[in-house]
């Protein structure tokens, strides 16, 4: 009989469930406890139903026993005469015995324990539901990686490769004259990704621009998931985070662009369209 069919006391169920949940019990455990309390309450309130159910179960058992020999007889090919009788018995038994199933009678053949075996051994262990790692993965809308994702990746790779090959064919990487420690070029610039920091060097003490700020950026970046505890990924719910990040990112990009294109000899301010570009990759 399905669990949902068991009659229960809905009021008791709701009350116990709320108590358990308020006490901080796991949801599934709370439901189980509430259900058992509700069923017991229902049975206590309706003793007559249980009494009525008992004879039905007993009748079912009787049918089961009657059916067993008949079923055993049916497959025997030689018992031609027995076959119709067996079929008749099954037809008669089937409607009454359908809802109940009975286990085979105990055989009485209990295996003797091995020599030296411990007196007691446990076959079952009680595992609380909290102790089981439940994998909750929503099925969702999924597609095969091959071909859908892989083809997209191949196309992306191909486009990038072609772009890079064409670029490399027509644009040569710079190679200046041999390194000379005694001849400082003017201006001397770091690689482009550090030009934001070099730009900061104009405004702050090197200790701040070169050590404190980069350390702050790296540690701050690594700490982002532990600072931003907002669980939502919807842009509408993350206005502060998005605004802050965009501002920082744009700030870094602006400094880098200034350092790259708006700084000339002596690392002084220039206009790239007037004085030219002092920038090398």
């Amino acid at each position: 009989m399905a669990r949902e069919d068991t009659p229960l006391d809905q009021e008791v169920f709701d009350r116990v469930l709320k108590e358990q949940l308020d006490a901080g019990t796991d949801k599934r455990v709370a439901e189980g406890r509430a259900r058992s309390a509700a069923v017991r309450a229902y049975k206590a309130a309706h003793p007559e139903e249980e009494a009525a159910a008992a004879p039905v179960a007993a009748a079912g058992d009787g049918d089961g026993q009657a059916q067993a020999p008949a079923a055993a007889a049916a497959p025997a090919p030689a018992a031609a005469a027995a076959a119709p009788a067996g079929q008749a018995a099954m037809v008669a038994a089937a409607p009454a015995s359908a809802p109940t199933r009975t286990a085979p009678l105990p055989t009485g053949n209990i295996p003797t324990p091995k020599k030296g075996a411990p007196d007691k051994h446990r076959l079952l262990a009680l595992v609380p539901p909290e102790g089981i790692q439940r994998v909750e993965r929503e099925q969702g809308d999924r597609v095969n990686v091959w071909p859908h994702l892989l083809i997209e990746e191949f196309v992306a790779m191909f486009v990038l490769s072609v772009g890079l090959v064409v670029f490399s064919t027509f644009l040569n990487a710079p190679l200046r004259e041999l390194a000379n420690p005694n001849l400082t070029p003017n201006p001397s610039k770091a690689p482009w990704y550090f030009l934001g920091l070099q730009e900061l060097l104009r405004y702050f003490h090197p200790m701040v621009a070169g050590i404190s700020i980069p350390t702050f950026i790296l540690v701050g970046l690594a700490a982002v998931p532990f600072v931003d505890r907002n669980p939502s990924v919807r842009p509408g719910d993350r206005k502060v985070a998005i605004t802050l990040f965009t501002m920082m990112f744009m700030f870094g990009a602006t400094l880098t662009i200034i350092g790259s294109f708006f700084r000339g000899p002596g690392y002084n301010w220039i206009w790239p369209w007037a004085q030219g570009v002092f920038f090398e990759l």
């Binding site: 597609v143 997209e152 090959v165 390194a179 420690p181 920091l197 060097l201 690594a222 990040f245």
Partner: protein
């Protein structure tokens, strides 16, 4: 009976039925005879390939949308492979020696540009690819931020990503010195002069980075080893963790 030569498709079929061919391409490979466009063979095509099995068999549909990932992480990885391949090629022709009088490193650079077959082209690929990788890794980080993909359970993978960004910058910066031209040593001099301001350990920091008080031959050797061996090794370790965690944290983030 007239003997006729087999058609090319028959030859192809016969080759693909040989034991050797079947031993190389596992069941489900699209190169194996009998590949059918069924969900079973599609799944096997991913599972039975050493490269593709970085991916799960199925992914969330919204992850395919180009404007969700812009393929930035994958392209950064592709650039890393491209840089490894071109870098190995360049290593054949380059010696990290910059002794006074005969700067072998610079001479090798000129040799790569003028005498080595495709040398200039491969060097261009390596250099432009490196700049592009710094760019794509940075953009990848921005994308991950904007899609909120660093949120639980992916916090640690974000941290790994920040380490990877740092390593990418380190690789690019160490490589910048290797041509040993004016651009290289002065960019590195400017960049590392900041390390001299670190609190308490300024001198030690400078000496550790440069192998001396100024950028010199020792710096070149040091940065060469960092560039071709040490940093790539560390980067690959973190890449492995990064990819592994993507799978363990439930694949691509989202949908928004």
């Amino acid at each position: 009976m007239k003997l006729r030569p087999p058609s090319p498709s028959q030859v192809g079929d016969r080759i693909r039925e040989t034991e050797v061919w079947k031993s190389i391409f596992r069941p489900g490979s699209i190169f194996r005879r009998g590949y059918k466009d069924t969900s079973r063979d599609r799944a096997l095509a991913t599972m039975n390939n050493v490269l593709y099995h970085l991916h799960p068999v199925k992914v969330k549909r919204h992850g395919l949308k180009l404007t969700y990932t812009f393929c930035l992480g994958g392209l950064s990885f592709f650039l890393f492979i491209l840089l490894t391949v071109t870098g190995i090629f360049l290593m054949f022709f380059y010696r990290p020696m910059a002794d006074i009088g005969g700067a072998q490193a610079y001479a090798d650079m000129q040799n790569i540009r003028t005498s080595v077959f495709f040398g200039d082209f491969v060097r261009n690929l390596h250099r432009w690819g490196a700049h592009l990788m710094v760019f794509s890794v940075t953009l990848h980080m921005a994308r991950v931020f904007y899609t909120g993909a660093y949120k639980p359970p992916r916090e640690f993978n974000w941290v790994v990503g920040v380490i990877l960004l740092f390593l990418t910058l380190g690789l690019s910066f160490t490589g910048y010195l290797l041509p040993w031209d004016q651009l290289a040593i002065w960019a590195v001099t400017v960049g590392t002069s900041l390390a001299g301001y670190s609190p308490f350990i300024a001198k030690q920091m400078n000496f550790l980075l440069l192998g001396g008080v100024v950028v010199g031959p020792e710096t070149l050797l040091r940065w060469y080893v960092l560039h071709v061996l040490a940093l790539p090794f560390v980067l690959v370790l973190f890449l492995a963790v990064h990819f592994w965690r993507i799978r363990k944290d439930g694949g691509i983030s989202g949908p928004l």
